[in-house]
Symmetry: C2
Subunit: 222 residues, 2 copies
Amino acid sequence: MGGVLRVVSGSLGWCVTIRFPRPTKAGIPLAPSSHERGSFADQRRSHAYYRGFRSTPKKYTKLIHGALQLCSFLILLLGLKAVLDSHDLNVNAKTGKLEPTVNFYSVHSWIGLLAMSLFGIQWVGGFVTFFKPGASMEFRKAVMPAHRLLGTIIFVCSLSAALMGVAELSAWSMKCWLDDKVICTEMLIANLFAVILMGFAGTVLFLVAHPSWIRQPLPSDM
Amino acid sequence: MGGVLRVVSGSLGWCVTIRFPRPTKAGIPLAPSSHERGSFADQRRSHAYYRGFRSTPKKYTKLIHGALQLCSFLILLLGLKAVLDSHDLNVNAKTGKLEPTVNFYSVHSWIGLLAMSLFGIQWVGGFVTFFKPGASMEFRKAVMPAHRLLGTIIFVCSLSAALMGVAELSAWSMKCWLDDKVICTEMLIANLFAVILMGFAGTVLFLVAHPSWIRQPLPSDM
């Protein structure tokens, strides 16, 4: 279910991206899709990892979990760079001159930055506590519920930032319905993308938070 | 912590509302605040109820939980009516003539409708299962994790819809930074409102999902 929604939302994400390239030198089509990828696809894969691979020893799942989150963070940084470039290298369509747009003014960017900051803190905290040098077993046990919950909150924060990005782009660029008073294809795609992203996030939350699906320790983990 | 954030987000919500009344006959200032109230304040109170009142017998907490959610839903309906009125009774500022705006075209409205639909289904399902006529104890036990999780997902969906509303309004109405290239007060308030709403939702999720804070049955509940 989550997988199907992921494929559909990914495809629609590309449609939104391809249909709405902003006028820029910097190849902005990278931005929304890498944003969406970074904040969702890989985070989700990483969150859900412990649910699917129940009989894989913890030391491997842990490694893959950390690596996937790192990938997710790097893709997110790439998306951020693309957005910053698209602002800094913005060209006025009439005059052809460089006319940089300001950065970090929108509410979408603030929530996005919040998500990224929490993500960074969580990753470093998780690495130090659960990997290298690694805290005592008592401390790990005490911290684990908070680590899980913060992960979920970061996921929700990323979801909100992504959806706010779609809402912002719609309000900025899609004025077609004002003239025709009918919903146009661009808007339909953006709206469907948001609904499916929401459905996808719902399945992830369900999967991760369902008490009876939490990974039970294997004898080899002890 | 959650309470403080609630007060701050509530006040900022009013600021956003009061500073940006849309040109309409219908007193739109009601809309965003009642939206925010309905989708957050009361849902949160209701979610967190089981965490705070641990020694109150279940039959009372259950009653208050259902009543608060119903209030939340009714306030949400009121907000929806205000929005619909503001669209249907929209007046062209130049000609002074009635010029209705189309409804349910924005991505914010789609996610909002999704949240409201799930909310309605959850409330009716909860009422029938846990209140009147009430299902068997086995069925209630089996359904409870799903009821909790769906509640959390609806909360996240409402959060996203609210934040998308702020992002949309910012992109639509706040062009001040385009001229001055500095962040203006309106935008600062909207951005802070969104960040604090996110923080508030984070505390609720933490409170509700922390495994050791789940309400334990009292002897009188058996």
